[in-house]
Symmetry: D2
Amino acid sequence: MKLWQGRLAADTDELAARLNRSLDFDSRLAPVDVAGSIAWTQALSKAGVLTEDEEQEIIQGLESVLEEIQQNTFEFLDSDEDIHTAVERGLTEKIGSLGGKLHTGRSRNDQVATDFRLWVKEALLRIDSMVLNLQKTLTQLAEVNHEVIMPGYTHLQQAQPVLLSHWFLSHLWPLQRDRMRLAFVFQETDVMPLGSAALAGTAYPIDRESLASALKFKQPSPNSMDAVSDRDFAVDFVYNAAVLGTHLSRLAEQLILFSSREFGYFELDDAYATGSSIMPQKKNPDMLEIVRSKTGQFNGHLITLLTMLKALPSVYDKDLQEDKPAVFACYDTLTLILPVMNGLLSTLKINQDNIKDALDPALMATDLADDLVKKGVPFREAYGAVAKAVRKAADLQTPLNELPLHHWQELHPAFDQNLYTVINPESAVTKRAVFGGTAPDSVKEQISLAKKCIMKVNQDQQ
Amino acid sequence: MKLWQGRLAADTDELAARLNRSLDFDSRLAPVDVAGSIAWTQALSKAGVLTEDEEQEIIQGLESVLEEIQQNTFEFLDSDEDIHTAVERGLTEKIGSLGGKLHTGRSRNDQVATDFRLWVKEALLRIDSMVLNLQKTLTQLAEVNHEVIMPGYTHLQQAQPVLLSHWFLSHLWPLQRDRMRLAFVFQETDVMPLGSAALAGTAYPIDRESLASALKFKQPSPNSMDAVSDRDFAVDFVYNAAVLGTHLSRLAEQLILFSSREFGYFELDDAYATGSSIMPQKKNPDMLEIVRSKTGQFNGHLITLLTMLKALPSVYDKDLQEDKPAVFACYDTLTLILPVMNGLLSTLKINQDNIKDALDPALMATDLADDLVKKGVPFREAYGAVAKAVRKAADLQTPLNELPLHHWQELHPAFDQNLYTVINPESAVTKRAVFGGTAPDSVKEQISLAKKCIMKVNQDQQ
Amino acid sequence: MKLWQGRLAADTDELAARLNRSLDFDSRLAPVDVAGSIAWTQALSKAGVLTEDEEQEIIQGLESVLEEIQQNTFEFLDSDEDIHTAVERGLTEKIGSLGGKLHTGRSRNDQVATDFRLWVKEALLRIDSMVLNLQKTLTQLAEVNHEVIMPGYTHLQQAQPVLLSHWFLSHLWPLQRDRMRLAFVFQETDVMPLGSAALAGTAYPIDRESLASALKFKQPSPNSMDAVSDRDFAVDFVYNAAVLGTHLSRLAEQLILFSSREFGYFELDDAYATGSSIMPQKKNPDMLEIVRSKTGQFNGHLITLLTMLKALPSVYDKDLQEDKPAVFACYDTLTLILPVMNGLLSTLKINQDNIKDALDPALMATDLADDLVKKGVPFREAYGAVAKAVRKAADLQTPLNELPLHHWQELHPAFDQNLYTVINPESAVTKRAVFGGTAPDSVKEQISLAKKCIMKVNQDQQ
Amino acid sequence: MKLWQGRLAADTDELAARLNRSLDFDSRLAPVDVAGSIAWTQALSKAGVLTEDEEQEIIQGLESVLEEIQQNTFEFLDSDEDIHTAVERGLTEKIGSLGGKLHTGRSRNDQVATDFRLWVKEALLRIDSMVLNLQKTLTQLAEVNHEVIMPGYTHLQQAQPVLLSHWFLSHLWPLQRDRMRLAFVFQETDVMPLGSAALAGTAYPIDRESLASALKFKQPSPNSMDAVSDRDFAVDFVYNAAVLGTHLSRLAEQLILFSSREFGYFELDDAYATGSSIMPQKKNPDMLEIVRSKTGQFNGHLITLLTMLKALPSVYDKDLQEDKPAVFACYDTLTLILPVMNGLLSTLKINQDNIKDALDPALMATDLADDLVKKGVPFREAYGAVAKAVRKAADLQTPLNELPLHHWQELHPAFDQNLYTVINPESAVTKRAVFGGTAPDSVKEQISLAKKCIMKVNQDQQ
């Protein structure tokens, strides 16, 4: 059944109908579609368009259609263009021509916009709680490994010693921003288009404020043309997935590196690793690689939606139908990779010995320069002296802490025996005691802050 | 001068140095870079690293470097890698080796992150006020053209009559969402990285809370590794440009269409149109086309940043340097196209006669169906009868309002003479009187709401 | 079954396994996977690794597995990671431990690269023939409507009269470039990775030249590490889809415009149009809008693959697994929209009267300037005179061909009565008689050329 | 000066003019613009539109304009919209109103399309020769380091031993595909639009075949509407940059990894490394990171162009003007990063000892399985036995080659003392002797092939 039969003389071409049909992906909207239709039925009744009996009969019909869909006993037809059509057809088969009254004063344009927003709101909350779980795991890892010192990297070169807990937390805060962003999108999505009809507003005296309440929307949309046209919330959803995915890709990359034989800091639990079909010795971080790769999928869907929206000529153009596959795919991927990352981190084996062995004495070069600064040497001059010492040590193939004092003093007279005590990772981290720094106490403070912050997001929306 | 001379034995290859150099684009950060360095100098002084005299001398030196840069008398050298290096070199040339103390406890990693955030915060406010101006113009156009009726379109086919003012406002609300998004990004950007040093936190006892206040940041960053690594605010900025640009592309597209000879609803003022080099009769909407095309640029820069960030292995990798050209380009484009769109709309000529002539009687088909509904016919049945009447009229090449009554009654007995009065655009719009609908009173209410809403965004940040 | 059981002590986490599993999308590779395995079996036999009996038994086993898969009687297990695993498991269930010899000297890395290339080669040929069909339809439309004159547009403003046939052909040549690009990718894909094993080359004395012949590849790959790593052919495939999709989006856009009430040049056949659920009069070009929208999908998949490939650290990383969903989706979309566009164009109704009525006399403005040029007036001066006449006519609201002569002569003395005969679409098109121009004879020549060119592409690959 | 003054009554708004103006980026087209205009002048003369004297005077005027531009003495005006306007204005200032004859029968639409193609053709050849240089360096590195054995990686885990030369060559072949792609785009670009005028073809009897020859184009375009509309060559150019950039990002990533302290295989020459502003010990691979990051820029420009082209409604829309910044930016980046990568590779220090020390005995696990296969054990069974031995060794924290024989024999009776000789990298690589494999002789053969192939591309276009 097409809802619009009558206007056109001929049947739709078979391939054209297949191209046009959205049922394959929008059937997952069934529960929200029926919820929207029930609220609409009640609104029509309040507006005097339906009698109370009609209202009851339609609602029961809708509920029984939904039940069939959820129990997989509903028979979808090839001619059902979309979930809205299928539900209306199912309803009419159940309650007869009264079913034809449901679509009074409503268009699929405002119906699908409403359904989709209902779905996205739920999806946002579900993702938020999964990100929260990941944050909790990171907090726990930070607590458990509080005083382990590791080399901190910039440019993939050892830079300065940092606490491993500081590193774990450095991946928690990006997730916090992700959750703030999700909460923002929730607010944006929380606007009800229903009652906008095709584009001009419904011609029936519907109380849109109370309809919004019934569907748990914060408010009705202020402009009917914008309401059926707006897909900002969908693009925002996918954009958030892209940024969240990017954060996860950085975490995954670092886990892959640190689990390589050459770094050797971590070992993945066997439940989160795979082997090779030909090389019996291999233990591979496939899941982390797929997480890294999914960034491409998120970025791709973002481009899909932005390209789709460019320069649309009307209030509603069918182009908009392509919004859902992108959003659904991002949701499905996120709700898979987030728990996998969580499980993988929870079971991660940390090789403290390897981490300790990896610390290069040259990591304390900045501290050596700072030490001269304390004696009144301008930083830039102190820097230069230490830099030359590092080069000297490299030329002599000597670890920095074994370079004899006379070499140091040739480079700057202010160096003395004390420099060898400066070359010490523990004191190096302890000195970085500012708010946000890597000193054990600073990180302890940070853990407390993190615990508080992660519980505060999104509280009023749950 | 390189800040890191001493460690490496050889000079940088000339092309490699050119590739590495960011001065060509980051020199516009000079004012915020100096502001950041002054605040840092004060913080070092408070921390006892500098004497008050040193503090004063450095600050005066920095101010005079900035003055020279702003008056174009500062001589940049090929060897200046970036604006930070150039400023530090300029300072040292002015005040001697004392200049070498400025960089104590600070890294370019936290310096550039701070500079960039300061710059982005200003940029967000400037864009916000330009979008507000555009909203004001749309409100004015809605007020002035309050009761003009135009065909509303879906699928680029005439759908239902709407008020022209309703159409203008349908482009105001997307801009409102853009401004909410900008305000959100402002908050996110309002976090100070300074004091994070290279990655581990500064080793000097800097009071980061008061440093943040001095630079008008809401708070210092909670994790030094995240602080130098985070570019979310930059991607968010570019994403917002992409969505705003997409909204403008839809407006531009519709203005192009409506200014074509075939629609004829609008005429661009000559100040916002161009001609052809070969066809003397042409009056072309070039600026609107460029606005439409800029969507591509925004989307492109978004992909640039998201690709750049994927899977970075360290806390700070030089890849991040590519963040600024994208943000600057989006800013430059937005601050050009927003006022142009504003000027173009302010001077738009509206051809009310053409708009009126364009209204097809078939636009009232939904009203005809609704009319049967009032008589108790289920909507789907009423729809079918009207659809067939439309087809009949098309076959007979007759306007719908001239199709004789007997044809109607053959299709459904409930039709009567009254249908000819239903085919009336004025009554069609008046019926859509719900909140958000196209009825004159509803639109008047919407105008008031819009005026209130657009003044409320961002109030506390200005 | 995992092919790599034994190395790891624990089972894979359930969600991790689901994330890792590619069977949902790679099962369509079954026929090429089995073809590749049969060829590999023969190669192993030639190399003395299998006896002839073993070879026969394995091949029969593989054929019967494929048959079951194709008849949907093959039972896939949750533990089958991918199609390769499923086939090897199925084989071993049929022929016992001999099945375990199939994977000798081969890795899934070279296996999947081979499978995928076999699949892509077939896909390219199928798409090519669909594009060819569309070109044939455009040629036919050009022939049938050879002398119909329409307004040619630039900037969506009427520019100069052109032949409708010229317009149809202007959409044929981009498709010709698409087919050249497809043919190029075919050549690039026509290289066999098999025998590369995991990365280093197989340790068995396989004759890769003859193996390539057996699988109808032009040549074996020259570097085993590159062979398992290279996905250029997949990105090229998706890129070609994106450019082809872009061409179709431009055609779709113009068909949408020209089918609007305001242009009225074309009417879609009812088999390629849809209606509205609420507005009984609507006839909507939904399929064209979806074609336009699919550009977003193609561009998105392109970004997916390019992002995926960025900066991969090894020869083979699991990231590469994401290559197939993108390619398959592009193929599925193209093989749907190409025949739909073909059907839609074949049945398009052309309203010659509307097209004729739309021609604005001002379209001949260039010809008026050219006419002065013939009298020795420099083009730029002639242009200026005509431009002013057009403005005069606009101010007087007079069609250009009704502007009295004295106005013209005030603007330039070289104008005379003859100018009114210049304002004639037929003579305007006839004058553009260069190769590639819109004159009827030029277009006739173009049609012949097009017919020849479209048959020449890809001849040797079919 | 605007070329189209006269038609419009008012001056262009200042910001609108700035938005519309392309001179800032298209002035680099000056040489090809003048070359195109000279050829056009000659064609007009042949067609009888200009006398020979006029022809000479115009050509001399154009040449002197170009000379001024190239010597930076040409004064561009704010009112020059684009390079075409500036050149025509300059010409007219030199030779008076005769300059106004140059634009006869030509439009900026076909002029800019011609200019741009001329420019792109040169750019393609220049890039090709830079890629060739990089290939030569890789070949040399492969020759010099022919027999060095390194761990080959998949999933960033050591997989099998390979020759370092094989690894270098694995980065040569992707570049070979890039050059094939560039050669393909050259052919596609080698089509002349000139003579298409605005869209309908020039109305003057120009011999386009001989005009094409004069400008060294292979052929004139077959359809004037397509000719001014087609930007496929520009998108193809940027796409090629994106794929080439992706290949370079993979090479850069691996060089970054292998230059880290943890891998230690390579050391960058000081001329291709940088330091830190705060950490004196750092030696950073900034240039490689920027190369990796530029992938984002290329992908971004690709999306810019694809988005720009989506659904353009006319033959020529001003949107197309955005084509050039993207192409120019990609060219400028490529011509910087290609020589930098070449220099960096040419000067790379290879630490053979570190590479040798890194080889894990477990790299020979496949060989151990293959050894059982020789004794008749099915590969899958042999694989399982070795996998368990690897796990045993890991549990006992013993290198695989030190695991006592009895453990092996518990896992499979076919193991014997010989297994310890199989654990040998030299014999492991030597066994992979197929075409494309890593055996020293195979790689020697590959080097010869590579040398031949890289000289063959593009020969006829130079």
